[in-house]
Symmetry: C2
Subunit: 112 residues, 2 copies
DNA sequence: TTGTATACCTCGGCATGCGAGGTATAGTTG
DNA sequence: CAACTATACCTCGCATGCCGAGGTATACAA
């Protein structure tokens, strides 16, 4: 009865965030909006996904952060590390493999 | 340190199994091998994934099963239901949306 | 009789997505 | 001034779901 398919994305937050940060330094809130915009609305991660993901990635050495004040509010900018870039490459090729595998099955029909 | 990225697939078992069964009736063990073959090795789900998934889908009315003996062994054939087909359509379009969203982000670069 | 292939199954851990809720500042609008 | 919205960060805990490990049983070959 669940109208929503809650899980069709796993590992995807890590992949796309790394990809965004590979382009340029960003702070969390900014990344959340960018994700939505660049994916044309297809992807949208709540803060309950994004912030824990950023913290986990920093703890694993994939990102480094620095604080910066902007009009009374604190922004925490994240920058990708060399290790993060290597991780991004692995995740990207993993994604391609899975994606192509799924496409092969979706496109497979014995009688078309 | 985890060399493996254990999760880049979620909801995918349900999607691809439904897609296979939309083509023709199959039993579990058969589906497992077909999945691997058709996806050209990119996808491969252990029995700890497959059987629970089949049971869950049957419980939700997406599949119906029948037993059949084949050389002393029991095979349980699963057939997709109309409800299962509707589910397949929703999952497929969900997959496309996510997939295109990811591609957009992977392909996004400001300085290429 | 040991091993391999077929064919089914369950249990438990681990990771993760994600909503819900919380804090705080700045600016706008009635 | 009070209320609201936007910005910007955060944590907790539930639910889902992947997946390895282990278990049962038959048939056949080495």
């Amino acid at each position: 009865m669940s109208d929503k398919n809650p899980a069709l994305m796993s590992g995807i937050p890590e992949l796309v965030v790394l990809r965004l940060l590979a382009e340029r330094e960003m702070y969390g809130y900014e990344a959340a909006r960018a994700l939505k915009v660049v994916s044309a609305g297809a992807l949208s991660f709540g803060e309950g996904v994004l912030y824990p993901a950023l913290h986990a990635m920093e703890a694993r050495g994939l990102l480094r952060s620095r604080e910066q004040l902007a009009g009374g509010r604190t922004r925490i900018y994240y920058r990708i590390t060399p290790k993060g870039r290597r991780r991004l490459e692995r995740l990207t090729s993993g994604w391609r493999r899975v994606s192509e595998g799924v496409e092969r099955i979706l496109g497979a029909s014995s009688h078309e």
